[in-house]
Amino acid sequence: MRTRIVFGVAAVVAVVVAGISAPVPAAAQRAAKAPSAPTPHWPDGRVNFGPLPGGKGHWNTGVGNLSETPIKMNGAFLVDPKDIDKVAPFQPWAKALVQYRLDTAGRDDPHPRCIPPAGPRQFNTPYGLEIVDQPEVKRVLVLSGGGSRSWRVIYMDGRPHPTGDDVNPTYYGHSVGHWEKDTLVVDTTGFNERFWMTRRPTGMVHTDMLHLIEHISRPDFDTLHYEVTIDDPGAYTRPWTASWNVPWTTDEVEEYFCQDNNKDTGQLVGGDTP
């Protein structure tokens, strides 16, 4: 079967966070970076989210925050604790739980225990991901380069989500997708509650009522734009949306398994947050 690589994201990116980075004038940044090539397409007109045929590269780690309103961040934490109200329209219990997770420096995060980076977290986890388009079988696979090196399937054949007793809550849930011009639109339900759905801010909560709508596009060769709407009436008072860009890198994805020599579990004891 011919497999077509559509996207990739992976690797390490040095995250320059607000408050600790040396300021670089915007004009200097623009001068330092060559203009991106245009969005590539396959001969059938479908957008190509991966390297050119015979080329190499993948999407690097996204540095965005799962936050409805842009806020100043210090790594995975809020610079101003009051900004928690700008992150999302939390229900009271959800806000209290996120606050606890921030206050304990994310020590209980399942991710360092090698739980899959599900939901939006797949797009800002170190070592990135690749997305493999299989138009012949109407599936898109999103392959995580980091974490537990796991993957999700997006069904592109028009099938509905399972209902009732057919729902088997999983980490990545049940994803169905379609194309709207050059944008891949993915609708996902059927999540379990055993993961934290983002890396930044740490500790964002969800329930098994979580419904995600993702819009994934490639506005130019070097940029993947990721937009996600979180619809979870169990944890939030209304649906809300966040987005960020994921940069292209010319490196190939390297092998990475969190499970290989993981010592973090006994070492995560908590600490002070900003």
Partner: protein
């Protein structure tokens, strides 16, 4: 087992400035920077973090302790000039890093100095993790 050590230990417990608390903060205490000098006893070139171990001698007491040093993933280290053979058992190194919160002889390495060369250790402290 017999070890030969010629090492010094200098643990600096000075307060650091406002270095960011990335998600490495539940494991490591930014207020406890440490500089360790010792002979490499073991190297684990593996994910999710490469580790190496050194024997450190406290010159005041003569006591020798084995420290574990966490670095970034091998792919991150390669981008900073490392190969899997950069560190060998028996190498004398100086490590600049941050002590673990759990009180064990564990630190997160920020830089490793060997043969007069300083290599970044792809620390989670500087990777925004």
């Amino acid at each position: 087992m017999r070890f030969r050590f010629i090492l010094t230990l200098s643990v600096l417990l000075t307060a650091s400035s406002a270095l960011a608390h990335h998600s490495f903060s539940p494991e490591y205490d930014s207020n406890k920077p440490v500089t360790l000098k010792g002979l490499v006893t073991k190297v684990e070139w593996q994910n999710p973090h490469a580790y190496f171990y050194i024997n450190v001698k406290d010159e005041a007491t003569g006591a020798v302790t084995n420290w574990a040093l966490e670095m970034g993933a091998p792919s991150g280290l390669q981008r900073q000039g490392w190969t899997r053979n950069t560190l060998q058992v028996g190498d004398l190194v100086t490590v600049e890093g941050t002590r673990a919160r759990n009180g064990t002889n564990l630190a997160n390495a920020r830089n490793v100095l060997k043969d007069g060369k300083k290599l970044g250790a792809a620390s989670s402290e500087t990777q925004g993790n």
